[in-house]
Amino acid sequence: MKARHKRLVLLAAALAALALATALVLQAFRKNLVFFFTPSQVAAGEAPRQRAFRIGGLVEAGSLARGADGLTVSFVVTDTAQRLPVRYRGALPDLFKEGKGVVAQGRIGADRVFQAEEVLAKHDENYMPPDAAYALKKAQAGGAR
């Protein structure tokens, strides 16, 4: 094989690998991007019905209740403008607390309750998850208008 051919074959292999990677990335991106919505946006019906998304805000004080099995919990996430009831089965993170920030990932059910698959809380006492802070700020800006 001539040198030029060899280089062409190598170039083609490299391009094929890159094309494969690009295709995988685009495919994976389309399927797995998780969008974030505030409780106000969910109330306005902007959140998707079929796919998972994230919500964030404060856990409303006094809203945490536990089911008879001891594992199912329900609480309300609020951005001070709108409230969104959330249900979750499993252990809550150490820093989950009423009146504090929280972010949850899951889907909206037929009963308009957010069925969380994952609950994330902040990592220390003073730190608010950025998404939760964003939800509050947005709701306050909306209220002022």
């Binding site: 074959v9 190598l10 974030f36 536990r66 001891g70 252990a91 998404d131």
Partner: protein, 677 residues
């Protein structure tokens, strides 16, 4: 007084670094031997002063000097000494100082072991490292001075985040930074070679041991972080594709590509430009990682800082360092020349494929990490890219890489025959397929498990085939670099096996249990036997006792804890793990719940209320307990350690250590002239 001295030492270090970064470079350009010779002394001086500054800050932590604001913000007098000392890197300022300290260590090492290098090369390498150090020292001294005082001093410190109060905190950051920063040596060698216009086999041979060592450190650092997350975060995960983890993983991927392409450049003189580019990019990703973690653009366990001034500085520094290096590359690299030719089927092309795949993987991880940040920064919406994306992209890219890893070492340089290689790999392929078939048919395993095990078997058997071939032919002394390759590839196989089995077969269950109750997970029965109250140095804890049995026979006693750290008012789950060769049993005590479900006033979510006296409140109620069975998780750690061991073995190869007489003669004048008239 000592903090002021530390501050002063760092200022002197900055002066030394400026000297080290400028005069030797000018000397190499103008041909002044004396200016070039300055690099050596300046590097040692800088190392000394940085170390003095570092020691001064350590002393402030050891002595509980809370008049130093940084100590007050990150430590506490109740903290045990070891954790007080490692609180030094518990925050932003100290982490940057640790970065600089690591850079100083590498710089001193290069200065001490660069005697067989040509004078110009040594001067330029040390100068580039000096300039990097100038950038970081300026950042530290002018935006994040760790020695700043608050007067009057607060009576006690704010304490270290409880998540960080662990032995992992002692070892993980220094080792990880050792790896991160170690790529600066490869970077400096590439820049020096580009300036000198000599990218050749000798350059690759000088760069290789440094790169291998840095890469091995980075591997151990990532392993330490991952295993720490596994037992400390309390839910048994060990890799989250979190932006901070990705920040260390991207340089690792490019570093892996770099050690392979350096092999080609050294052995065959090919890929020179590409190798230089990889060296630049690997260090650029290390810098980017520092920026991501330290500027506060991410907010997770690791991001303590949020000061836009610092972010801007790092961004500008990144721009100058990466932009400058790439501009130099674009200007000088085309003149370097192509190197030896090779056939389509040769070790060179397989290693090229290895590099393309690794670089593409690093690119996809970079995209997944930066895309959400970019969208957020431009106000285009908030999204998150989680593990499903990374797994969907990473796994298909790794399959061809693992296939290649078994083939590559069996293929000869320059030109190889398909037939010879196929003949050798026949049995290997058969073995791997047999494993997959056995798993699918006999054990009803899933496709993913069968694929992972087959790949691991393929790589392990292929590496064994390579080892047998060589051991048969060269009885006497195979080079350590060859052993390093064999050990690292076997480590990858062990790692893949561990990841496949733990991901495919792990089981977990959440239960609400009272003392006296129990639950089962697979064959194992976990009995909640007792709950006691413990007093730690800076926390109170509820400590449970679980008796684990399998088919009636006792297996282990586990003591998971729920701690409450008093100073930071923070609860913490301290999981208990029974480790074994084939499985870990993992119990975590998640939260206490009150006796009556759905009470009018909801129960406090955190486990232990320290204010309450008498018996622990949880004794009345139940606890949410998570039980986990993690098969083969230990193999993940063993694989990672084998990979790092392979890198260390290769770095220790004799041919990198023995000063080559021929070259010492070629460079004519040694660094320190021996004949003084």
């Amino acid at each position: 007084m000592i903090p002021e001295l530390g501050h002063f030492a760092l200022l002197l270090a900055l002066g030394m670094a400026l000297l080290q970064g400028t005069l030797p470079l000018a000397g190499a350009w103008r041909g002044h031997p004396r200016w070039m010779a300055l690099a050596h002394g300046a590097a040692l001086g800088q190392g000394l002063f940085v170390t003095l500054g570092f020691a001064a800050l350590l002393q402030a932590f050891a002595a509980n000097d809370f008049s130093v604001s940084y100590v007050a913000a990150n430590s506490n007098s109740h903290l045990p000494l070891a954790f007080r000392l490692c609180s030094l890197w518990g925050g932003h300022e100290g982490s940057i100082l640790l970065w600089i300290q690591m850079l100083a260590l590498w710089t001193v090492a290069v200065a001490l072991f660069s005697r067989q290098l040509p004078r110009e090369m040594a001067a330029r390498v040390l100068a580039v490292m000096g300039l990097v150090s100038v950038g970081f020292l300026c950042f530290l001294l002018f935006t994040s001075n760790p020695f700043e005082r608050t007067l009057p001093a607060p009576p006690d410190g704010r304490d270290l985040n409880p998540l960080l109060q662990d032995w992992g905190m002692v070892s993980h950051p220094p080792i990880l930074y050792m790896g991160y920063v170690g790529f600066s040596v490869a970077f400096a060698f590439a820049i020096a070679a580009l300036i000198g216009g000599r990218l050749d086999a000798a350059w690759a041979r000088w760069t290789r041991p440094w790169t291998l060592l840095a890469w091995a450190f980075l591997t151990v650092g990532i392993y330490l972080g991952s295993s720490w997350a596994y037992y400390e975060l309390g839910w048994g995960g060990w890799w989250f594709w979190d932006a901070v983890e990705n920040a260390s993983f991207m340089p690792w991927l490019l570093g892996t590509a770099l050690i392979h392409s350096l092999a080609v450049t050294e052995k065959r003189g090919t890929f020179k430009n590409w190798t230089a580019l990889l060296a630049i990019l690997a260090f650029s990703l290390s810098l980017l990682g520092t920026f991501l973690v330290r500027s506060g653009v991410l907010t997770s366990v690791h991001a303590f800082a949020s000061d836009p001034r610092r972010g801007l500085y790092i961004l500008a520094f990144l721009g100058v360092a990466i932009g400058g290096a790439l501009a130099l590359y674009a200007w000088r690299a085309p003149s370097v020349g192509l190197g030896g030719r090779f056939a389509v089927f040769s070790r060179e092309s397989l290693l090229l494929l290895n590099n393309v795949i690794l670089a593409a993987t690093a690119g996809t991880v970079l995209l997944g990490t930066l895309y959400p940040l970019a969208l957020d920064a431009w106000g285009l919406g908030k999204i998150s890219v989680g593990p499903p994306y990374f797994e969907a992209v990473f796994v298909p890219l790794m399959v061809p890489l693992l296939l290649l890893a078994a083939v590559g070492p069996l293929v000869s340089w320059k030109e190889a025959s398909w037939r010879g290689v196929l003949r050798r790999l026949r049995w290997v392929a058969l073995g791997a397929l047999a494993c997959a078939a056995a798993l699918l048919l006999a054990l009803q395993a899933s496709w993913m498990v069968a694929l992972g095990v087959a790949l691991a078997a393929w790589l392990l058997l292929g590496t064994a085939a390579e080892a047998i071939k060589h051991l048969r032919h060269h009885r006497a002394g195979l080079p350590l670099s060859w052993w390093g390759m064999v050990v690292a590839h076997a480590g990858v196989a062990v790692f893949v096996l561990g990841v496949t089995l733990v991901k495919g077969l792990e089981t977990a269950g959440d239960h609400s249990l009272r003392v006296g109750q129990g639950a089962t997970l697979g064959d194992y029965r976990f009995d909640f036997v007792a709950l006691t109250r413990e007093q730690g140095p800076n926390y109170v804890a509820a400590r449970a006792r679980f008796e684990v049995s399998r088919n009636g026979r006792p297996v282990a006693t586990l003591h998971p804890e729920k701690r409450f750290y008093v100073v930071q008012q923070m609860p913490m789950t301290e999981a208990a793990i029974d480790r074994g060769v084939f499985r870990d049993l993992y119990v975590s005590l998640n939260e206490a719940i009150k006796a009556s479900p759905q009470a009018a006033s909801p129960p406090p979510p955190e486990g232990v209320e320290p204010a309450r006296d008498g018996p622990s409140p949880a004794q009345e109620g139940a606890w949410v307990v998570r039980l986990q069975h993690k098969p083969f998780i230990g193999w993940v750690w063993a694989g990672a350690l084998l990979i790092a061991l392979g890198g260390t073995l290769a770095a220790a190869d004799r041919r990198y250590r023995a000063p080559r007489r021929t070259e010492a003669a070629a460079s004519s004048i040694p660094l320190v002239p021996l004949k003084v008239s």
